[in-house]
Assembly symmetry: C2
Homo-oligomer: 129 residues x 2
DNA sequence: GTAATTGCAAATAATTTGCTGGGTG
DNA sequence: CACCCAGCAAATTATTTGCAATTAC
């Protein structure tokens, strides 16, 4: 890919990361922008995007996207899974003790597996009632 | 599985579906557009998008998207898995005998699971050499 | 001090949509 | 022959980028 470029820590970048860490939801860039402005009123949307990009490259956050519209971001970089409610659109985190990935997957894959992603779609418990 | 609403069949829609079925790659809307024009020179990109949308709703095709850029489409609607090469960007299909989804997933999920998606990222066999 | 980063705004990229005439069922 | 769908282009939406001023190290 590309050589790692020297990064600097700025107030803007810290706030973007902070905002993302402070929520269990999976916000869009625009939501992060609006939250960040509460702390740095002059921050620009472009800066939010640039810092999200930087944090992604550093592996500090995750990007999620489900077909349409904006990307969503997740401040939890640990391996975990997502459940997307097809009714209300909410994205839930969930964890499992044993990993989903198995030797069978590693064998069947047409290359060296370095990472994976597992997502479920359905109706969340709140929408089931 | 039966589709809720029957859509009208047109030459354009047939060609879009055909093009998508004819390849094992996972093309973008634009690539499909360019291929389709070989058969219907006057077809428009908007029509390609509209038909892809229709085929998606009918469950005939899958939409894939990996962070950046355009969506990719898959003419194979059967449950299968994808391997994305981080080097060359190619998307491979792969199948497994036993399903990845387990009782543990169903129990851990915060709702009723209706569908799921599993993807691996890594370096493909061609790029490993 | 110097080079990365910011804010701003304009530029891109991808996809969607309004309109009107045409083809399908 | 009613109505859905195609073509065309303009509109939207999400994200990226160029530039000059600012700031971190």
């Amino acid at each position: 890919m590309r050589e790692a470029k020297q990064k600097r820590m700025t107030r803007q970048k810290a706030v973007v990361h902070e905002v993302l860490q402070s929520t269990t939801s999976h916000p869009t860039a625009d939501w992060i922008y609006r939250e960040a402005r509460k702390q740095i009123p002059g921050i620009s949307l472009g800066t939010v995007y640039r810092n999200l990009q930087a944090l992604l490259e550093e592996g500090q956050i995750m990007e999620l996207n489900y077909g349409k519209g904006q990307s969503r971001f997740d401040g939890n970089a640990e391996q975990h899974y997502h459940f997307v409610c097809e009714k209300c659109g909410k994205v839930y985190d969930f964890a499992m003790d044993s990993p989903t990935i198995s030797q069978e997957v590693l064998d069947a894959a047409p290359g060296l597996v370095k990472d994976y992603r597992f997502e479920c779609y359905g109706i969340c418990k709140d929408c089931l009632d």
